[in-house]
Symmetry: C2
Subunit: 429 residues, 2 copies
């Protein structure tokens, strides 16, 4: 980790730059995968699965008996933990289901909005070293609460052609409507355009590698909605000298172990604290199974000393971190000043892992500075709001002349006529 | 207008296809404009303004004295109408400002979300034949209510190098923070990356021609948020034989006059009503100043007879119209069945023009079937929601073991450690 002491403000922008991965031919490779899936359907999905992952599953859709087998290899402890996390996530996200009032704008003019579920959604769950059933929970629970009719999951099978039992268990527990053995850009294309086995959806969610991310970006241009733009995971911790350096180091490492392109930052107003955390980080690092990954992430990472905690907050708002931990004595009042962040963890015991798994908040959050304009996934991500209006004769009589004047000022006489013809019909009422 | 009588269900998908505009080299042209603005700033904006619009304004930023002049040429009637529309839009959108409760997930675990304004937003208002001050209202009023600190507007100047007085008047009335004489893809690029005069923003809103639309799509790939993907405006009307054919025709024409690529559809369950509306459309068309535009839009447009009103609703949900008018006797109960639409107008007197200008709902809505997954612009479009959590010692003691089990099941031991180190420190408490 680089230590940066009292950088001038002119340097802040540069310190906010995320590690970049350049892949010049990525777009053309992914575009070609998408086009082949579009024209060849299931066959293309099987083909790419064999080509990229060395596995060709017997069937794309997971069959009922495959779910049954999955149940048996999961301990009761783990099932209980999954259920508890599910309950907490449901409790937090249920509060996002609201009914808005009808507004009487004026006599005879009533307007309102209604939240309606996106009918068909697709969730992508990456494969790789660990089964991310927590991400499946974070996406499928709000989808279920929103009331989406079709909730499908694509996830790459293992070398044995099977889906990890924990993914299957979680999918069934929450009630997704279909799970498919497909990964990478081909899975995104399949959900965007549909194949013989995999249904077309209206919105695609979930993290993934650069191929998945690029595929989501490209299908978005065809009008398929996506959850948010993606980037490597990151945490920024603001800590003062009352924080426990061991806790801070553990939080930095919990983020660093995600991937070599992750970035972790600590800001503090105490020079000695920087060294304490640094030595704790490298001490704890030695004990991590994913030590090599975390080590590489730490190379992109920084411990920064700033003159005051207010400066730390200002820097954090400029950086707009995905996760922000405020491990400072007056954390609650500093939290009020946060304007750009995905999720904020307040105080010494609020570790990021809590939000990653079980406190109830969502862990699908904007990275790469996107927290300046994007929110994390929520029930709203699975809804759209339709506006309604009901205007009666009295309403149009009163509001109509205003509309006529405004439409005429925009030279849209057809718009004006739609009102005038109604007002005229009411003249003798 | 084409009349289609009782099409088979197998044909519905085809009938939902929107008119396509193919522009093969559009992307490369727009990408090059963006790159030049990125590297040359203001100079590039001036240059493209001269090249594409034949005008090079003296300054990009509108100066205070230009606002003063604008005031004088607007009638009191028109000012009153603008104020009334503003009040209604404010009333409707204010209801979208909500504070969410803090959820106590378990003892010592408190989670909540806070809505925070996107700091800097850019609104694009097209130039052309008519000054779209209504669109400026629809974008700037929710931005103001959300609390955005910087609300800038880009709009192309007229041949005289000036901005239309109605745009200036509206901008000042609502309180935008800066208005700039820039149009086209160069304006979008300027707001996305910043120039000497035009500030960089975090999210860009507003309609525009194909260059503007493509530019928004391209800057979105760089992480600049945009309101929604764009397409030509459209209306779908469901009418029965109790509707007034004149009203229906006027509503169809009010949409058709937007542009030659607009699409208008009427669905009905009454064969005679089709002919009545058709003859009314062509009668009223003759009187429209924008007759030529509307005529071309009608060529893309359809009157469709279906067996029942339920079929009409089913077709409409498949089409997912931007605007949907339910001009049927039991409109309110059919409205309950609508799952895909931007904005719904219920009953004989609820014309689309009302929502376009003054009833209070927003008129920036998803087109091209995007209503299946996107909502119209609202106060939320100018906010992001940050999640917060505060866990105390008792909270982590209770929740911690669950997190440890889940993290371990995902092989993320760093995540587990962040909890374990805290639990260990509390062992003797």
């Amino acid at each position: 980790m680089k230590t940066i002491l009292l950088p001038e403000k002119g340097m802040w922008d540069e310190l906010c730059i995320r590690p970049q991965i350049e892949r010049d031919n990525l777009e053309s490779v992914v575009r070609s995968i998408i086009n082949i899936v579009k024209s060849e359907g299931d066959n293309a999905v099987y083909g790419f699965s064999e080509k990229f992952d060395g596995v060709s599953p017997a069937n794309l859709k997971v069959l009922p008996h495959e779910f049954l087998i999955s149940d048996k290899n999961i301990s009761k402890n783990l099932k209980d933990a999954i259920r508890k996390a599910k309950e907490n996530i449901e409790r937090f996200h249920s509060a996002q289901l609201i009914t808005e009032p009808v507004i009487e704008i004026s006599k005879g003019v009533r307007c309102w909005r209604k939240s309606v579920a996106i009918e068909k959604v697709g969730l992508y769950i990456p494969g790789g070293s660990a089964p991310l059933f927590s991400t499946l929970m974070m996406l499928s629970i709000p989808a279920k609460l929103a009331g989406c009719k079709e909730i499908i999951v694509c996830t790459p099978p293992g070398k044995d052609g099977k889906i990890n039992p924990l993914i299957l268990y979680t999918a069934r527990l929450i009630g997704v409507t279909g799970i498919y053995k497909a990964g990478g850009a081909q899975a995104i294309a399949a959900m965007a355009y549909g194949t013989e086995s995999i249904p077309k959806v209206h919105k695609i969610f979930g993290p993934g590698n650069q191929y998945v991310t690029k595929a989501k970006e490209l299908v978005q241009q065809d009008g398929i909605a996506i959850d948010m733009p993606a980037g490597p995971s990151e945490v920024l911790i603001i800590a003062d000298n009352l924080a426990d350096p061991g806790f801070v180091a553990a939080d930095l490492l919990s983020q660093a172990e995600h991937g070599p392109d992750s970035q972790v930052l600590m800001l503090t107003n105490d020079r000695e604290f920087v060294e304490k955390v640094k030595s704790e980080v490298y001490k704890q690092l030695e004990l991590l199974p994913r030590k090599d990954i975390a080590f590489r992430a730490l190379e992109n990472s920084r411990l920064i000393l700033l003159p005051s905690l207010n400066d730390c907050v200002e820097f954090s708002n400029l950086y707009a971190p995905e996760h922000l931990i405020l491990n400072i004595s007056d954390a609650r009042s500093f939290a009020e000043k946060i304007i750009n962040a995905g999720s904020v963890f307040i105080g010494n015991y609020s570790c990021e892992s809590a939000g990653d798994y079980a406190s109830g908040t969502n862990h699908t959050l904007p990275t790469n500075g996107y927290a300046k304009s994007y929110s994390g996934v929520s029930v709203e991500s699975f809804l759209k709001r339709i506006s309604f209006q009901e205007i009666n004769a009295a309403g149009i009589k009163e509001l109509g002349p205003t509309i006529e004047i405004l439409a005429e000022a925009e030279s849209l006489i057809g718009h004006k006529n739609a009102v005038s013809i109604r007002l005229k019909s009411l003249e003798n009422d």
